[in-house]
C-alpha cells in the first residue's frame, strides 16, 4: 500500500498530472436555423422593394 502510494507520487513527480489538450476537431455549433431565418428576412425585404417596382410587378 505504502509502496504503491510512493510509486504513484514518484510517477506523479516525473510526469505532469494535468494535461489540457485542445480538441482535435473544431467545436461546431449549428446555427442553421438562425441564419436561414435571417436570410429569409433579408430576401423578404429585398423582394418587397422589387414588388413595388411598377415596371416589374
Amino acid at each position: 500500500m505504502t509502496l504503491g502510494l510512493t510509486g504513484v507520487l514518484l510517477l506523479g513527480g516525473c510526469t505532469p498530472t494535468v494535461k489540457i489538450e485542445p480538441p482535435d476537431k473544431p467545436i461546431v455549433i449549428n446555427l442553421n436555423v438562425k441564419i436561414e431565418h435571417e436570410i429569409k428576412i433579408k430576401v423578404d425585404k429585398e423582394l418587397d422593394e422589387l414588388i413595388n417596382n411598377d415596371e416589374l410587378f
Binding site: I39, V43, E46, L47, D48, L50, E55, L56, F57
Partner: protein, 106 residues
C-alpha cells in the same frame, strides 16, 4: 443607305409596338397575370402580351439572380418567395394562377 434607314424605322416601329402596353395596363386589362413560379404569365395570347411578359420576366430574373447570389440561395427559392408576395399583392380583378395552373381573377 436608303434600305438601312428603312430597316431602322421598321425596327423602331416594331420595338415601339412591343412596348405599346405598360405592365400595369396589361394587368388591368387581364392580358397577363402572376404565375406561381414568380414570373409573369400570358392570360390572353397576343404578340403584345407575350412580348411584355418576355421583357418583364427577363428583368425579374436578373433581379432574382442578384438576390439569390447575395444571399447564397437558389434562384428558384427567390422566385417562389416573390410569387407568394406578388400574388398576395395583386389587385382585385387581376389574374393570378392557381397551383393547378388555372387562371383565376383575384
Amino acid at each position: 443607305m436608303k434600305s438601312k434607314i428603312l430597316v431602322l424605322i421598321a425596327g423602331l416601329l416594331l420595338s415601339l409596338n412591343a412596348f405599346a402596353i405598360s405592365l400595369q395596363d396589361a394587368k388591368a386589362q387581364g392580358l397577363v397575370g402572376e404565375q406561381i413560379n414568380g414570373y409573369l404569365g400570358v392570360v390572353v395570347n397576343s404578340g403584345e402580351a407575350s412580348a411584355l411578359a418576355k421583357s418583364v420576366n427577363a428583368k425579374r430574373k436578373a433581379h432574382y439572380e442578384k438576390i439569390a447570389l447575395k444571399n447564397q440561395i437558389s434562384v428558384d427559392d427567390v422566385a417562389k418567395l416573390a410569387a407568394e408576395k406578388a400574388i398576395a399583392a395583386a389587385d382585385k380583378g387581376h389574374y393570378i394562377q392557381t397551383p393547378q395552373g388555372k387562371w383565376i381573377k383575384k
